[in-house]
Symmetry: C2
Subunit: 420 residues, 2 copies
């Protein structure tokens, strides 16, 4: 009789995790993958490559929670002792598995004969279930003891953990979770151009009756709103989530740029593609950041023509045709310069749309009138130019990231308001 | 009589760490800060905001190791229960500290009167040493029990942990570590343009007699070599580290671009600045990545003029003057196009140096002759152009990152070989 699970612990193994050389992303990967099952991670322990510590951590986890997932220590070297340590805790021998050995030999075949010393990698705790690892040599393993509980053993490399968890472990554990447990159902809206406190104020108590968890997640360049409903079944929450999204759209309007995980540059790219337009960028302080973001996705040549990085004022004149008189009279960080940059970008490229950014990213270069963080954005669309002055607080990196986001967002709003 | 420390455990507290919403960077920050003291982190435990779990994790850590650092759970809300849990483990009451309350009131003064409910934040376990927190409201605390051991309590926000650890906790713990313990002394060399296996082969056993740990750390765009010597005193290892660096420089020559943590773009920027030169970039598949990297540092306007992002072939013609005939005959990803891009960049800008990149980042667009990952790099310096064909494996992101690094590195090597 296998017990039903509601909680699990994670034990991550490796000196590099303890020393801080590597961040423990495996624990986060696993926790996030198990959450939709309603299976909560209640403790995580990290120990080094030392048998006593591993055995102690696994035994304590089983005693507390009855279920544990380990990562690391399944390789072919002497450091890799997780299997033996766990077998010891469960009082089982290691046994040699022909099918694991066969797969190892096959993997090695491409680069030569497998060393006999690697036979250890084909040993598993007696009775273990084996999950083939498409990205590496060490398979995932699951061993269950009626009295002590369930141990799942995974390798250490994050790419291998990701694929094993997604392809096999989630399905394996899903059978073990009671149908009665509440699971989280989620929905995410992304906003930019409006502060967390302003969002919270506008939203106020408008969602209270829907009984959802509402989280505001501030990032450098925007605030994500995450809605979570806990239920035994999706149908119990779907309508409430939809209603919450509807109310948030009504309240926040254009501040919301997407529902889901998409980057703002992707949203802007899709809007351009739908309209058959291309965009050209004219970047000063952001120096290529907007271009890089617009080209992160395959197929970006559909909507991205190119751009001019006009860091030096001479570049503004020579690549974009900004008037020397404008630079002299108003300065590089001014409405007039930003407008001429956007106009020059369209003129030189023939694109219908352009984004121009000129600002002071710091740490030096600020004045009382134009402090560090002052940025002028201009967007040109079909022969009309809009320009906005912004003040972005933060370090050089943050000012640049916020200015790039601001430029993309100004184009998005302009496209939508133009009713194109 | 305070005991001498050689090992310590970390207990990190917070539901967001268990759920995987936040990576546990605090544990890594602390471990890396303590390593130079010779103080090893031997276990890390993560628990949620629940008194029983916190008390159990701290008590077990003290029983095993006699020293523990916690992060999280020191805020003013009902979730924040670390102080009470630790006070319970040590059998001490919480006591109100006037000086902590005074600092809290002062911090609040700027935004209004502090709520009386925040008085809890001025309570500390009896006898605790208090470390003021310049970046937040919750101070760091240290409490020692002769029999049970030492507890250091830190807040959760990473910026606060960083400053408290660097400003106070390292010095506090340093007094407690035996002078007899071996500490790691480190040195790092950064390489690019040569594979990890090729480095390892060339280095072979050449450093064996120096008794250092040699680690090859492969990143997407290069391999760092980290040398570590363990000793009671720096003088015991300094000479061996210097000798190892000398031998590595002899063996690897120009593949090494810096000793220390600097980014390649910074190294290239410094070389340009020393020579009084500016560079202009002509980027196709990297679309602004090189420009962004060259401008990440304050003062980059000394050596960076600007650039052209020539994603569309029309942009190559119109912004750089690449001949239509060249594009037709050889294609956009070709030696001829890359050379004309670099030449155009110098001609349009007047810069003495240019980097040009044209390649196929994928996932689509590859052919048998020019598969995805094929990149042509060209560098122009003082009226001479060099061009190199490269093949970079990996995803779109990886190809772009490697191509940007390759372009910067080709300029670095060209500057150094020109004997400028």
């Amino acid at each position: 009789m296998k017990r039903e699970l509601t909680a699990i612990e994670i034990v991550t193994i490796g000196e590099e995790l303890l020393s801080g050389a590597t961040l423990d992303s495996n624990a986060a990967t696993i926790a996030q993958a198990l959450e939709p099952l309603g299976l909560r991670v209640v403790r995580r322990t990290t120990v080094g490559d030392e048998a006593g510590g591993i055995a102690d951590a696994v035994a304590s986890a089983l005693a507390r929670t009855g279920a544990v997932i380990t990562t690391g220590g399944l390789g072919p070297t002497d450091d890799d002792i997780t299997k033996a340590a766990v077998a010891g805790v469960l009082g089982r021998p290691l046994e040699f598995r022909e099918e694991v050995w066969a797969r190892l030999k096959e993997r090695w075949a491409r680069r030569g004969r497998i060393p006999e010393t690697n036979r250890r990698q084909a040993e598993v705790p007696a009775g273990a279930e084996v999950f083939p690892n498409p990205r590496g040599t060490a398979p995932g393993l699951a061993v269950e003891d009626e009295r002590l509980g369930l141990c799942v053993l995974l390798p250490g490399p994050p790419a291998e953990v990701e694929s094993l968890v997604q392809d096999a472990i989630v399905a394996f554990l899903a059978q073990r979770v009671s149908g009665d447990v509440k699971r989280p159902y989620r929905c995410q809206l992304r906003t930019t151009g409006v502060a967390e406190s302003a969002i919270a104020e506008r939203v106020g108590g408008r969602l209270d009756d829907l009984l959802l968890d509402v989280a505001y997640l501030p990032e450098v360049d925007g605030v994500d709103i995450r809605l979570t409903g806990w239920a035994r079944d999706e149908v119990e929450v779907t309508e409430r989530l939809h209603e919450a999204v509807r109310r948030l759209r009504e309240t926040l309007g254009l501040h919301i740029y997407t529902e889901g995980p998409a980057d703002l540059a992707q949203v802007v790219g899709d809007l351009l593609r739908q309209r058959g337009l291309t965009v050209t960028v004219a970047e000063s302080c952001t120096a290529g950041l907007i271009a890089r973001r617009l080209t992160e996705f395959a197929g970006s040549s559909d909507y991205f023509w190119g751009g001019m990085i006009v860091y030096d004022d001479r570049a503004k004149v020579e690549l974009l045709g900004v008037a020397e008189e404008t630079l002299r009279r108003y300065g590089a960080v001014s409405e007039e310069t930003a407008r001429e940059m956007a106009e020059g970008a369209c003129r030189r490229s023939g694109s219908a749309a352009a984004i121009a950014v000129s600002g002071i990213a710091g740490p030096a270069g600020g004045t009382e009138e134009k402090p560090v963080g002052t940025v002028w954005l201009a967007v040109r669309l079909n022969d009309e130019t809009v320009a906005k002055r912004r003040y972005y607080p933060g370090t050089r990196d943050m000012v640049r990231a916020r200015a790039a986001q601001g430029g993309l967002d100004l184009l998005r709003r302009t496209l939508l308001q133009a009713g194109l």
